[in-house]
């Protein structure tokens, strides 16, 4: 049990770890989540129910988990990266099987007190597994195409399963997030070019396999005003809400679009619309700036870590955070088709909140244990 922890450093005490927690990051996360509470309070027409109150409770629960994860030694995560990935993959297969044997298209496993969504956990599990893999091979090995087969399989297995659910948003996030880790690990750019060309040429085939509602979303994105009361409604109303907010916004609780329910389900994926409507461009830019600070923290943590595993985990999660923000905001502002991706920490929803705080916990863990040097072979599994 102890042999692989061949570190020059003493194990840190719990008290020391708590002191080393990156409280700036924790504050930033809490600040962004608090903006979310305020927006949800406004979405409900100035009420804690039904959303804001629950969201606060979830955040507190997630917060505790985040700190807990942060305190766990980075070597533990490295050692358990593959088993976590494997269990999550089994979970994904399980929901797929359950769905096909007539329990409906559900994406979660009901644990009674909590609904576990394997696809959410997979976002982190895949980062851990890929980080572990690239940690274990040299730059020279990364240059060998054959060495990329295993990580590609690691990526494609969950992506295919998630696509089957069907959950285009998560699949996109998994692929782009993994791509970033490949890129950071030093995979040559021309290989990405090959992949991009391959994906582009596969698009017509993918189109064939897409569900009607997915096709409609893409078509609607091309011309939202074509179908203003149908699928284009959300995009159009969202743009109206943003645009009518102007520079300074209509004021807190004064957003006519969101308050009057022109935007259905504004509290989930379209919450940024309400920020834009009630606080205008200033509000939008401030929130975006907070996210940029969060990314900066993530990058700083990643580059400040002494082991490749920690670096890739921190940077991978940061990239995923960025992708959440980018995809969500672009979608809300009509830059890309509607994909079901929430605005991190702000949108209403338990699973996403939990995943994101777990991710923050991992980043904090990397930060706390940045001085650890991990051997390339973490255990006998590799």
């Amino acid at each position: 049990m102890v042999s692989y922890m061949a570190s020059r450093h003493r194990d840190l005490t719990l008290g020391a770890k708590l002191l080393m927690v990156n409280w700036g990051l924790v504050f930033l996360v809490t600040l962004i989540a608090s903006i979310g509470f305020a927006m949800l309070y406004s979405s409900a027409g100035g009420s804690w129910s039904p959303w804001a109150g629950k969201q606060v409770v979830r955040f507190i629960a997630g917060f505790i988990v985040m700190i807990g994860v942060a305190l766990v030694d980075i070597r533990f995560w490295a050692r358990w990266a593959y088993p976590i990935y494997a269990v999550t993959l089994i979970g994904l297969v399980a929901v797929e099987v359950m769905g096909s044997i007539g329990m409906g298209a559900q994406r979660w496993i009901d644990l009674g007190f909590f609904q576990l969504q394997p696809s959410e956990i997979m976002k982190l599990a895949l980062v851990l597994a890929l980080a572990r893999y690239f940690h274990g091979i040299s730059l020279e090995q990364v240059g060998r195409p054959l060495m990329l087969v295993a990580p590609l399989i690691l990526v494609l297995l969950p992506v295919v399963l998630v696509l089957k659910q069907p959950n285009l948003g998560t699949a996109t996030l998994l692929m782009l997030g993994s791509g970033a880790i490949f890129f950071l690990a030093g995979v040559r750019l021309w290989k990405f070019a090959i992949i991009i060309v391959a994906v582009l040429s596969a698009l017509p085939v993918v189109w064939q396999f897409m569900h009607d509602y997915q096709k409609r979303r893409v078509l609607t994105f091309m011309d939202p005003e074509n179908d203003p009361l149908g699928a284009g409604y959300n995009i159009l109303q969202s743009m109206i809400a943003m645009g009518s907010g102007g520079i300074t916004g209509k004021g807190y609780l004064q957003g006519s679009q969101s308050q009057l329910r022109f935007l259905p389900e504004v509290q989930t994926d379209f919450i940024f619309t309400q920020v834009g409507e009630e606080f205008g461009m200033i509000g939008g830019v401030v929130l975006l700036f907070l996210y940029v600070c969060l990314f900066a923290y993530g990058i700083a943590i990643g580059l400040g870590c002494r082991n490749q595993f920690g670096r890739l985990v921190a940077l991978g999660i940061t990239t995923q955070f960025f992708l959440y923000v980018f995809i969500n905001m672009s979608m809300v502002m009509g830059l890309i088709p509607v994909v079901g991706i929430p605005l991190p920490l702000v949108s209403y929803g338990g699973s996403a909140m939990m995943t994101l705080l777990l991710g923050c916990g991992l980043m904090l863990s990397v930060s706390i244990h940045r001085e650890h040097r991990l051997p390339r072979r973490v255990d006998g599994l590799n």
Binding site: S138, L139, E140, A180, F183, L184, A185, G186, Q237, M239, I240, A241, M242, G243, S244, G245, G246, I247, S256, Q257, L260, R261, F262, P264, G276, G280, M281, G284, V285, L288, V292, F295, I299, G302, L303, Q308, R311, L312, L315, T319, F322, F326, M329, S330, M333, L335, P375, R376
Partner: protein, 623 residues
């Protein structure tokens, strides 16, 4: 563990992280740029779209203008309409609520089905009218039972009310829901439940009575539910219409017709102001407002006494002997005959192989024009008509306004027919027969006139030959209407005097056809002319078998009874025309009504009393 290798890996990672961060910053810049585009560049456009989203214009129906008689009596007004409305989403069980309501106010299964259909069609927050026109007691009951009637709300609206119902139905007309083909650019017509004038003055002056819509700008949510009112602009009430009618005389005229079917008109011989325009039988225009049942509508439609037809202006009748003044004037004015032109009446004359009878079987003996008018000798006017010719008669009729609409301010007025040689050629493609001239001379044959045309004709005789036309409206809003110029018809005063003397003898000479129906009060005496118009030709066989008494015939075959006249003879003021459909004879059925009317007109003397002046509008806005 090669340290170089580790360093190389870190360098690569750092470089690539920088590239990635650069890419991310670029994307962040794009997001900010998009925000700038939406929220600054295009902001005003989206602002407008957002307002359209949330602001809904709702029309407020204006109060319809009142209709008054010349003395300010309300002929059409707006009355509070106590009703109960249901907001479906405010009750869990719509049917139970309706059943509970049925225990409080009259509400049958048929109505219930109608309401349920209506509810199914609309969204659950749209109020649906359940019952209307409740009495105060019923309305109070709905209020008291409020707690049991969840979703039901008592409400007070405005509805049109016609206090004189049948007596004025044809003149005032009625309002009813807008038909699809009546929708024009007035947004009010789109309003559910809005009523527009469908007949009579309500229709003719609809645009002025209607007023202009007010508006209420309300903030609504995506489902159209009203959140609050942002701005309210009251509409303008419709114009008040003041009529020339004297309701007292109108009611008297309607009642004087009794159970008979027909028309009675009283008008001012100088100004043309119509004081009474009665059509019997009437109908209750209030029913049209609330909606007639199919059975009620069919009953009105199929009634042989045609209650829906406004007989004074749309009823076409052969004028019969009331037409003889036209024949007389055509003869006198063309100088073909003189007043002392003698004709021997044996009771029958012949032309070719046709026989032409006088109504008086034994004949009048030798009569001149005055005697012929007095006794209504048919043979005399056969003779005059034959000498004068149909075209001269038609020309004289034209001067007195027969054969064309009088232009009164009511819809559906009819022109009637005054035949001429040219008319027959054009409409039938046949040449005129002299026998037809004879029949036309006594107001039969092709000739048809409306009672109002006859009133106009007798007014023009009585006022000394001036082209007066009937009119019904004194003012609408602040616009006052006056009698236009009444140019002379160019009739020689002496000839007019002859005809008037003839009419005077009809009522005031003991041998006159209407002597028994004269007005004996000194100074109020009337002059007139009886008319008995055949509804269908009397066959030779019938005549041989002896003319049956009118009372023995079925109602529909009896003659129409007519009387036209004016009073006082010495200084004519009031003209009257009465027709009693299938009344048998002019002297028997129409003359007494006309006599009573002229006597009542002079007793009430509305023309000497001060009429109200227009006040502008109905005044107050919707309550």
């Amino acid at each position: 563990m090669a340290s170089d290798n580790e360093t190389g890996r870190y360098k690569t990672l750092t470089r690539r992280t920088a590239m990635l961060a650069g890419g991310q910053l670029t994307i962040v810049a794009v997001l900010v740029g998009r925000m700038y585009y939406l929220q600054v560049v295009e902001s005003s456009q989206y602002q407008m779209m957002a307002d359209e989203n949330r602001i809904d214009m709702r029309l407020l129906p204006p109060l319809r203008g009142r209709i008054l008689d010349r003395f300010g009596q309300e002929l059409a007004s707006n009355r509070q309409n106590f009703r109960a409305i249901l907001i479906p989403e405010q009750t869990d069980e719509v049917e139970q609520t309706l059943d509970a309501l049925a225990r409080v106010v009259p509400f049958d299964d048929h109505q219930k089905r109608k309401v349920l259909r209506e509810i199914a069609r609309r969204r659950p927050f749209v109020p649906v009218t359940v019952v209307e026109n409740l009495t105060w007691e019923q309305f109070a009951a709905v209020n008291v039972h409020g707690p049991e009637l969840s979703g039901i709300q008592p409400e007070v609206g405005e509805t049109r009310y016609y206090p004189y119902a049948d007596q004025l139905a044809h003149v005032i007309g009625y309002v009813a829901a807008v038909a699809e083909n009546e929708v024009d650019d007035d947004p009010l017509l789109q309003l559910p439940g809005f009523r527009i004038g469908k007949n009579g003055i309500e229709r003719a002056f609809d645009k002025r009575l209607r007023g202009t819509a007010g508006s209420s700008r309300v903030e609504v949510n995506a489902y159209g539910r009203m959140i609050r009112e942002l701005q309210r602009r009251e509409g303008e009430s419709g114009d008040e219409v003041i009529m020339t009618l004297d309701m007292g005389l109108q009611r008297f005229a309607y009642d004087a017709m009794g159970q008979e079917s027909g028309a009675a008109v009283v008008m001012d011989v100088h100004t043309g102001e119509v004081l009474a325009l009665a059509s019997t039988p009437g109908f209750d225009p209030n029913l049209f407002n609330t909606g007639l049942s199919h059975a009620e509508w069919n009953a009105l439609r199929s009634n042989e006494r045609n209650p829906l037809i406004n007989k004074p202006i749309a009823g076409l009748y052969p004028p019969g002997s009331t037409f003889k003044m036209m024949t007389a004037l055509a003869g006198l004015e063309s100088r073909i005959v003189t007043a002392d032109h003698p004709v021997f009446c044996s009771g029958v004359t012949s032309l070719g192989n046709h026989e032409f009878h006088c109504w008086k079987k034994e004949g009048h003996g030798t009569v001149d024009m005055l005697g012929a008018l007095e006794g209504s000798c048919d043979l005399y006017f056969y003779d005059v008509a034959r000498r004068v010719g149909i075209d001269r008669i038609a020309e004289m009729c034209g001067r007195f306004g027969l054969g064309r609409p009088t232009g009164i301010e009511l819809p559906n007025e009819r022109a009637g027919i005054i035949p001429s040689t040219q008319w027959k050629l054009q409409t039938m493609g046949k040449s005129w027969q002299q026998g037809e001239t004879l029949v036309a001379g006594i107001g039969q044959g092709y000739i048809t006139t409306t009672p109002l045309q006859l009133a106009q004709m007798v007014s023009r005789i009585a006022n000394g030959g001036h082209a007066v036309s009937p009119r019904l409206v004194r003012s609408a809003g602040t616009t006052e209407f006056s009698t236009g110029a009444t140019p002379s018809l160019g009739i020689s005063p002496a000839n007019l005097a002859t005809v008037i003397e003839g009419m005077n003898r009809v009522t005031n000479s003991p041998t006159g056809t209407a002597f028994k129906k004269r007005i004996s009060e000194p100074g109020w005496e009337m002059a007139g002319k009886t008319g008995t118009a055949q509804v269908r030709r009397i066959t030779m066989a019938e005549r041989a078998a002896g003319v049956r008494k009118q009372e023995d015939k079925p109602w529909i075959e009896r003659h129409h009874a007519l009387f036209v006249g004016f009073a006082p003879v010495s200084a004519p003021r009031y003209a009257v025309a009465v027709i009693v459909e299938h009344g048998g004879s002019g002297s028997g059925a129409a003359a007494p009504v006309a006599r009573d009317l002229l006597r009542e007109a002079q007793r009430l003397d509305p023309l000497s009393r001060q009429a109200v002046s227009p006040s502008g509008g109905t005044g107050s806005g919707p309550s």
